[in-house]
């Protein structure tokens, strides 16, 4: 058979690794044809809505549902009393704590769920919510974690103050845990003796992932066959199925969990919310499907927040700037319940990556978790577990140390980077960095922006400002980050006991196309596009001929879901491994068809060829057909494979970012003139998708650094519950982003890929923040807290006397 197509064309046609293939999801999303939870309408479906607490801390004296029940169209009003017989008035959190599903005697944060109204439609439900009469007795409110640890007020009366919590002993009735890594005495000894020490306190403010689509679920209990179907905004549908089974007592095979299209998650949709539980109970009680979809205010006020870390750092160095030790203590405000979504053994996530990209000989991290009267959560907003906090911490400490040393911050980073030849590198706080080439990335970035030129320009601008010729100043923000993603090895990573492996199952159809199902779930990451590309390169079937399916627990293999940039490192690896199983069988089929020994054929793009005689071959299409229509001795018919992948290690993407910013000192308005982002995520599967992820992550980084926060007043009222005050940037506020890359493959990942969805957020926040702070460095600034909104920037200028 003669081949008309060149090898190069065959590679291009596959649209495999490295192809900037267009996202297959976008046709439906850009035409408004997505199918989200709120698009699900089942026959007879009812709608649920919450009565929520207006108070941050109060005793619930009584709940009167009579008026609500009397409203035409109201079917039920559930309170904790109704859930108690089922033991569902409380639920376990992913962090080993428990959380009220509906207020059980008291409320602990504003917006807490008090009663669940079930009605014929959402309009009636909303009216009925107004009719439920709740009598509260206000209690003292604590919004400050430091005061909480001093206070006599017991927030969690359900907990025995003397009993240990899920992560060991508790020091106070409002204390949750202490988590320590590293050698504190050794670190202190080094710091005490050091030439130079910089200390700083910084608050990484509370914010919120705020996905475009809020959270929701539709529960449908079929009483005839005993099956529960649960549709919802779940970043981890299989875990939800397991939890639902454990909570409800319904056997797991009788529960089907479906995540339809999800409009963004960013960590907000990892945990389990009272709304999910209540929709299930309501469906069981009423016998018909029940939908619950929250609105924007409910999403911002009651679902999982991110950050809220009070961090205290000490960093020591030699006179020349070589870092000798790092000490970090965090007071972590977890709100009313500890509902962090971290692997079980890591109550502060991977905060211990806080030694960053630097070769630091000794370090210590201590974290104290604290209860306050704020919404629960503590999820990783577009980052692997607490990595954004860790990277912000070290990248600020580096800047402060540079000030202390009177040294350029780029140079200080350069002399402390872990060297290429030190990888795999064992960090002091226990991580094995898989691969990296930081110096090359840094040099490339600094060169790309003409760093020296920028510093000269900045010096001229400072001089002009001091001469009174301008009222704007210039900041150069630097950040170099190392992420830790792809959780994770089953030996130390689990969620509710489930090891954090992931999975892929592939079926090749007789005519040479395929379907692959994974344990992950895209929320905008483009899995249907990129996983098909991994497979295309592994099995020689064009990506366009491969369907990727996720999110239905009845069909997809068990997996731990999508968050923490884990899909490519874990499920992507499973996909490659399953592909390799397909290829191994295909090789036997090809050899049989070509009448040669298995070892005499080799894989070549989209076919197996006879070694040394590439004109004799069988395409994957021919092989697939043969798998179904021929009896091949010694082989089962069909062409399918499953792989469950337990990653041997995390992956460690890294990057170098530079932001150039002007600040109007009189109004506090910043203007970003340039943002350069170099990312190294190992093997690049789809450069266009990577670029899209980077633009998105940087946009959210800008948001967090420059204004996005969840703020409370002294009474525990949430002051930022609408998009008027919760900063979600528009195209207008977002600058042009320049992207760049280096490629340092992961040595342990089957295709060398590391994951990229969150890097830009992790690296971006300190970069924007450092730009603001760097602008004020020549005028005596050391550190100011985010978010750098207009008034806080203005205040920095004011405090430094720039308005005098």
């Amino acid at each position: 058979m003669k081949d008309e197509v060149t090898r190069e064309e065959r590679v291009t046609n596959l649209k495999g690794l490295g192809s900037s293939r267009k996202r297959v999801e976008d046709a439906r999303f850009t035409q408004g044809k997505g199918h989200y939870v709120d698009d699900i309408n089942l026959p007879g479906m009812l709608t649920g809505d919450f009565v929520r607490s207006p108070y941050a801390h109060a005793r619930v004296k009584s709940i009167n549902i009579d008026a609500a029940m009397a409203l035409d169209g109201v079917v039920a009003v559930l309170t904790a009393k109704d859930l108690e017989p089922l033991s569902l008035h409380w639920m376990p959190t992913l962090a080993g704590d428990k959380q009220m599903v509906l207020a059980d005697g008291k409320v602990l944060f504003q917006g807490q769920e008090v009663a669940f109204v079930v009605a014929k439609d959402r309009y009636i439900a909303a009216d009925a919510v107004e009719l439920v009469e709740v009598e509260y007795e206000e209690l003292p409110v604590i919004v400050d974690p430091f005061k909480s640890l001093q206070s006599d007020v017991v927030l969690r009366e359900d907990l025995d103050p003397n009993a240990p919590g899920a992560h060991g002993p508790r020091k106070h009735h409002n204390h949750i845990f202490t988590w320590e890594v590293g050698d504190e005495d050794g670190t202190n000894a080094v710091i005490d003796d050091a030439d130079v020490v910089a200390t700083e306190e910084m608050y990484y403010h509370r914010t919120h992932p705020c996905p475009l689509e809020p959270c929701g679920s539709v529960a449908s209990m079929d009483k005839v066959n005993g099956k529960l179907t649960l549709y919802g905004t779940f970043q981890a549908p299989h875990v939800v199925r397991t939890v639902a089974s454990l909570l409800s007592g319904i056997e797991e095979h009788n529960i089907r969990v479906v995540s339809p299209d999800i409009g963004g998650g960013f960590g907000n949709k990892v945990g389990v919310y009272p709304g999910y539980v209540c929709s299930i109970v309501a469906s069981i009680v009423t016998g018909v499907p029940v939908k619950w979809v929250e609105d924007r205010m409910e999403n911002l006020m009651s679902t999982a927040f991110a950050r809220d870390y009070w961090m205290k750092g000490k960093i020591s160095a030699t006179k020349e700037g070589k870092i000798t030790g790092l000490h970090c203590h965090v007071t972590a405000d977890h709100g009313a319940f500890d509902a962090c979504a971290d692997p079980t053994k890591f109550p502060a996530g991977f905060m211990s990556i806080c030694t960053g990209s630097y070769d630091i000989p000794i370090a210590y991290l201590g974290v104290d978790g604290v209860y306050t009267n704020k919404a629960p959560g503590g999820v990783s907003y577009r980052c692997s577990f607490r990595v954004t906090e860790a990277v912000y911490f070290i990248e600020r400490m580096i800047e402060v140390l540079a000030i202390e040393l009177n040294m350029d911050a780029a140079e200080l980073r350069r002399i402390n980077f872990i060297k290429k030849e030190q990888f795999p590198y064992d960090s002091e706080l226990g991580w094995e960095y898989d691969s990296g080439d930081y110096h090359t990335a840094w040099e490339k970035a600094l060169k790309a922006v003409d760093y020296e030129g920028l510093r000269k320009e900045q010096a001229e601008r400072v001089a002009a400002f001091k001469r009174g010729e301008t009222r704007t100043i210039m900041g150069i923000g630097l950040s170099f980050f190392t992420e830790i993603v792809g959780a994770g090895p089953v030996k130390n990573c689990d969620i509710l006991g489930m090891g954090m492996f992931d999975s892929c199952e592939i079926r090749i159809h007789p005519t040479g196309s395929a379907i692959a199902r994974l344990g992950t779930i895209s929320q905008g990451q483009g899995h249907a596009t990129t996983f098909a590309q991994i497979l295309a390169s592994e099995i020689g079937i064009p990506a366009d001929s491969i369907t990727i399916e996720e999110g239905d627990t009845d069909t997809a293999p068990y997996g731990l879901g999508t968050y923490g940039s884990r899909s490519t490192p874990v499920a992507g690896a499973a996909t490659a491994m399953a592909g390799r199983k397909i290829r191994a069988k295909a090789q036997m089929i090809a050899a049989y068809l070509l009448e040669v020994h298995d070892d005499d054929v080799e894989f070549d793009v989209d076919r197996f060829v006879i070694k040394g005689a590439p004109e004799r071959f069988k395409t994957m299409g021919e092989i697939a057909y043969a798998a179904y229509n021929q009896a091949i001795p010694g082989l089962e018919p069909g062409l399918e494979a499953v792989s469950y992948y337990d990653p041997p290690n995390m992956t460690y993407p890294f990057g170098a970012y530079v932001c150039v910013m002007d600040i109007d000192v009189d109004t506090g308005v910043p203007k970003i003139n340039r943002f350069y982002a170099l990312d190294d995520c190992g093997t690049r599967i789809n450069p266009m998708v990577i670029e899209g992820q980077i633009h998105g992550g940087l946009t959210e980084a800008l948001a967090v650094a420059l204004g996005q926060e969840i703020a409370y007043d002294e009474m525990g009222n949430c002051k930022t519950a609408t998009l008027m005050d919760f900063f979600l940037p528009t195209a207008w506020e977002v600058p042009n982003f320049e992207t760049d890359f280096t490629v340092t493959p992961s040595p342990h990942h089957p295709i060398g890929a590391k994951g990229v969805g969150e890097s830009p957020h992790v690296g971006g926040v300190p970069c924007f923040s450092n730009a603001v702070q760097d602008a004020f460095r020549p005028f005596g600034n050391r550190h100011t807290n985010m978010p750098h909104d207009h008034w806080r920037i203005w205040k920095t200028a004011n405090d430094l006397g720039l308005h005098d």
């Binding site: 309009y123 109004t667 506090g668 900063f727 506020e733 207009h790």
Partner: protein, 284 residues
């Protein structure tokens, strides 16, 4: 975020609208673009059992300019204000200000009438109308009357508009003046941290008249006559601008919100006012 139930009325003439208003009194309210009213209804901060939609009433829309007088129908959208060529040349400050309101989606719906009748000190048009010394025409059961924008606002959400009245049009004379509308906001779609409209006419190289009005710096829009007076007769030099700013700051009373504390707002207001004056003067 669901409104309470309401009755929807859609009269085809003004008389019809007025009669529904009369019939239901306090329980009725007109809706124009809905972009201030509907959010309030969804938050259940406004309960409106009878909603009267004005959009089918011919004659409430449109812009006419005759003999130096500009007349704008209450139902004219902010989008239409921005895209009207004649208005742009007659009173360019409206174009500059309207472009700083919200975002295109809001401006397609939001009307000038709703913006000025709303009584929200954060709305940009009230201050602008005071700056232009506009007149509001109000139709009610007892006939038509005219109220000056400068006398219309009493307190937040409290205006001269009586129950039963509808604002039909806004009129002002087109002045050939240097103009500027300067606004600081946190993002597109946000209300002002501080905003200021300025109109300056010139006599030789001196300021002949100056009109300075501010948005979101008190519980009502603020026209600072003292600030204007501080500029008249000067060559609008640094000292004159400083004096005008000082006078304007005397007339405002901002409150703390998520945009920042009073101290910050006062400072930013001063900067915004001085920039607006300087830009208006450069165009005079």
């Amino acid at each position: 975020m669901i409104t309470a139930a309401f009755e929807y009325h859609r009269p085809s003439d003004l008389a019809g609208a007025l009669s529904v208003l009369e019939e239901h009194g306090d329980d009725a309210r007109v809706i124009a673009g809905g972009h201030s009213l509907i959010p309030m209804m969804k938050l259940r901060m406004a309960e409106v059992p009878h909603l009267i939609d004005l959009q089918d009433i011919a004659g409430l829309k449109g812009i006419t300019i005759e003999g130096g007088m500009v007349t704008i129908g209450a139902m004219t959208t902010q989008h239409e204000l921005i895209n009207n060529e004649a208005l742009l040349s007659a009173t360019p400050i409206i174009h500059e200000a309207a472009l700083q309101i919200a975002d295109p989606q809001v401006r397609y719906m939001g009307t000038i009438g709703g913006n000025v009748a709303n009584g929200d000190p954060a709305n940009d048009m009230p201050g602008l109308m005071q700056c232009l010394n506009a007149n509001f025409t109000l139709e009610g059961p007892d006939g038509t009357r005219s109220v000056k924008a400068r006398e219309f606002y009493e307190a937040a959400y409290m205006t001269e508009l009586e129950d039963g009245e509808i604002l039909t049009q806004i009129t002002f004379s087109a002045v050939n003046a240097g103009y500027a509308y300067e606004k600081q906001k946190r993002k597109i779609g946000d209300y002002a941290t501080a905003a200021c409209g300025v109109l300056i006419t010139k006599d030789g190289d001196k300021v002949a008249t100056a009109s300075i009005a501010m948005t979101n710096l008190s519980d009502v829009p603020v026209l600072s006559e003292a600030a204007g007076a501080a500029l008249v007769g000067t060559s609008c030099d640094a000292a004159a601008i400083k004096a005008a700013v000082a006078a304007a700051l005397e007339d405002i009373d901002p409150t703390e919100d998520n945009r920042g504390p009073v101290e910050f707002k006062m400072h930013v207001a001063g900067i915004i006012i001085s920039r607006a004056i300087a830009r208006a003067w450069s165009r005079a």
